[in-house]
């Protein structure tokens, strides 16, 4: 009896949260999927219209802009964060004395929400009150940095703010990976006369492969679902030059009374994220079985 109860207990404890997740995550994913095939406008409707919403979605110029911005933002964000995070981690790993002091400084931005980051950078980059204004007051009159007001450059300010926020977190991931490297291997490399550069390039970085994978997956999904940062920083502007799929989804679903199109854009985003996460999970699970 007691044994049976013991084996049942974990399941009993997990059942409510499992049921809740089943309904509120997967249930609503299915609901959104269904809505994307209906003629929902202001409120959900259940009239099926086939692929009409997807057809409209890919005919929207705003959606093209959102996808192009996502490509720029996603690639730069992931690459810069990874490179910067790795560099910081390697430098902190040189057994320096004030590591305990420096590490939290790099990590702190991660403790802020994207809204705070976005608002702070909005003020900092605003030519009228921020960096440009301050330097003008200090006497550097010719200084100009108006990217945030420039249709072509505004998306790069989103990259700057996002990198500032996330690179410390990536650094922590790599630092954990670096601490996990077996000292014996490093000693063996030293004895064999490998240079520092070669040790990192041929031994340590390849060992960090799992950390790279995790960093990539975390950053990629953050990039695809990026919403709050853009809303706080530029609100999609100037014009619609910093529109991303998530802001597109929100505006079509909630302010434009085109819930069907909004739902179909959400489904496309889900597919994008799934195409990154599923192979990763598959790989992870396979490795564990071995």
């Amino acid at each position: 009896m007691k044994e049976r109860l013991q084996s049942l207990l974990p399941r009993l404890v997990l059942a409510p949260s499992f049921a809740v997740i089943l309904l509120f995550v997967y249930g609503f994913i299915a609901f959104t999927g269904y809505l994307s095939f209906t003629d929902s406008t202001m409120l959900p409707s259940f009239n099926l219209v086939g692929l009409a919403n997807y057809d409209r979605l890919f005919g929207q110029r705003s959606w093209d802009i959102a996808l192009a911005n996502l490509a720029i933002f996603g690639i730069l964000y992931i690459v810069i964060c990874t490179v910067l995070g790795l560099t910081l981690a390697i430098m902190l790993d040189q057994k320096i004395r004030i590591e305990g002091f420096l590490r939290p400084i790099y990590l702190y931005p991660m403790a802020l929400s994207f809204i705070v980051t976005g608002t702070a950078w909005k003020w900092f980059l605003d030519p009228g009150i921020g960096l440009e204004h301050t330097l003008h007051v200090w006497g550097w009159e010719s200084f100009s940095f108006t990217w945030i007001k420039d249709t072509k450059m505004a998306i790069y300010t989103v990259v700057i703010a996002a990198v500032w926020q996330s690179s410390g977190f990536v650094m922590a991931m790599f630092l954990a990976g670096l601490r996990g490297v077996d000292n014996e291997i490093l000693k063996a490399a030293q004895i064999d006369g490998a240079s520092m550069w070669n040790t990192y390039r041929r031994i340590i970085i390849p060992i960090l492969r799992p950390a790279f994978m995790s960093a990539f997956v975390v950053l990629a999904h953050l990039a695809i679902k990026a919403y709050d940062l853009v809303v706080a920083l530029t609100n999609g502007g100037p014009g619609r030059s910093t529109e991303l799929p998530a802001t597109f989804m929100y505006s079509y679903t909630f302010t434009r009374n085109e819930m069907g199109v909004g739902a179909s854009s959400a489904v496309i985003m889900l597919i994008m994220i799934a195409s990154i996460i599923v192979p990763y999970l598959y790989g992870e699970l396979r490795e564990r079985k071995q």
Partner: protein, 416 residues
């Protein structure tokens, strides 16, 4: 013992429930987006009126001019089955919600008080759905106004511009004097407000009607439309580079402080001037966008009552209060708009208000009272936003005027 505790608790809960439901009958929750100084002050008039009648006002302000955020909140509340009692709505949003069968009919009050005789027909198109009253119009705003700093005009020896060329000449002078000529906010609806005034001035009321209300394809793709975009692009050169994302009341403040010369904005801007202690005629000037005198593009705030669980009595009281001439005067003198009833005396209004009332009556009589596209009184949200896309992309330099015309035609076609 346990039983007794349970019983006491149950009793307490029952009393609490009764108390809260008795309380709910005298309470209305009002969702609106009137959060700037002048607006909040105007709304206070209504709040005090209701409190005198024993109805508690539960304020639910959602900031954001044009009400985009408020609409999102509304949708969430309705979907969750807990709609606010009364909601500020605009134009086609009213019709859309009525179509969903979510609104309380106001026929009871409206017929008794004879709203049909005193509210202009152009407004009734939106306040009624399927022959039934579903909204109580609070005011009529018109959007084709220019707000100018008088000190700036006097200093530069400028007169009120009557034509497009006058306007450009005046703006050039301000630019030369080192003043930002146009205070412009950088949100799509504000850019659209400027754009529709230019369109009305360039094409006249018939063209406006064809392009904005009938969505005539030839009008949308016409050479006149290209001129409209060219003129808007010209106006863009008089706006400072730091405009994007700026709220409308901050742009108004630039005019109030004399940092900028003029703002093209609906008459809610007047509330900001009055709030800053400025006097019409002495400190600031109000006139119609050059070339649009005689026509009014309107935007009327209306309150609709959502079907809820409680009794409809407080909703009817609210609707009746809104249409009472005392409230119409008290509210609109503060807000900057003009009364939604045409039988209200204009005595208590300032010069701009009286001009607004006169223009409205004229426009209504000559059939030149037209719904504002930028404010949801010409087209439903999907088409309005499709137009916004093109207007804001063009205003921010994404493409030139010829492309903008093509984009406009296809965006409208696509959103229909």
């Amino acid at each position: 013992m346990a039983f007794r505790i349970a019983k006491t608790l149950g009793g307490a809960a029952a009393i609490a429930l009764m108390a809260s439901s008795a309380f709910a009958a005298e309470k209305i929750e009002v969702l609106h987006w009137w959060t700037s100084g002048g607006e909040a002050k105007a709304l206070n008039v209504l709040k005090q009126m209701l409190e005198k009648q024993g109805i508690t006002w539960e304020d639910m302000p959602v900031a954001g001019g044009g009400g985009e955020q408020a609409m999102t909140v509304l949708r969430a509340r309705v979907t969750a089955g807990n709609p606010p009692t009364a909601v500020q709505l605009l134009g086609f949003d009213i019709t859309d919600w009525a179509k969903q069968g979510q609104l309380t009919s106001l026929d009871e009050v409206a017929n008794k008080e004879g709203w049909g005789k005193v509210i202009p027909a152009a407004l009734q198109n939106f306040s009624k759905y399927d022959g039934h009253w579903i909204a109580a119009p609070v005011n009529v705003h018109s959007t084709n106004w220019v707000w100018a700093n008088k000190a700036v005009f006097d200093k530069l020896g400028l007169k009120q511009p009557e034509t497009w060329d006058d306007l450009i000449a005046a703006l050039d002078k301000m630019k030369a004097a080192g003043i930002t000529p146009i205070a412009q906010g950088g949100q799509p609806w504000q850019e659209a407000t400027l754009w529709e005034a230019v369109l009305l001035s360039t094409g006249g009321p018939d063209f406006y009607k064809k392009a904005m209300i009938d969505l005539d394809k030839d009008a949308l793709g016409s050479d006149t439309m290209k001129t409209v975009f060219d003129r808007v692009a010209k106006l863009r050169t008089y706006v400072d580079d730091n405009f994007s994302g700026r709220d409308w009341n901050l742009a108004t403040a630039m005019v109030i402080e004399g940092k900028a010369g003029v703002q093209f904005m609906g008459d809610w801007a007047k509330g900001e001037f009055l709030g800053a202690g400025k006097k019409p005629g002495d400190d600031f000037m109000c006139f119609r966008f050059p070339g649009t005198q005689g026509t009014v593009t309107f935007n009327a705030d209306q309150f609709v009552m959502f079907k809820g669980k409680g009794s409809t009595a407080p909703q009817m009281t609210l609707a009746s209060d809104i249409e009472s001439p005392e409230f119409q005067v008290a509210f609109n003198t503060v807000k900057g708009s003009v009364p939604a009833r045409t039988d209200v005396s204009g005595e208590k209004f300032d010069a701009c208000g009286q001009k607004g009332i006169k223009d409205l009556a004229e426009a209504a009589a000559s059939n030149h009272l037209l719904g504002s596209m930028a404010h949801g009184y010409a087209q439903p949200a999907s088409i309005k936003n499709a137009m916004y896309d093109v207007i804001t992309a063009h205003f921010n330099g994404e493409y030139d005027s010829a492309t903008a015309v093509k984009e406009l035609v296809s965006a409208v076609e696509d959103a229909k």
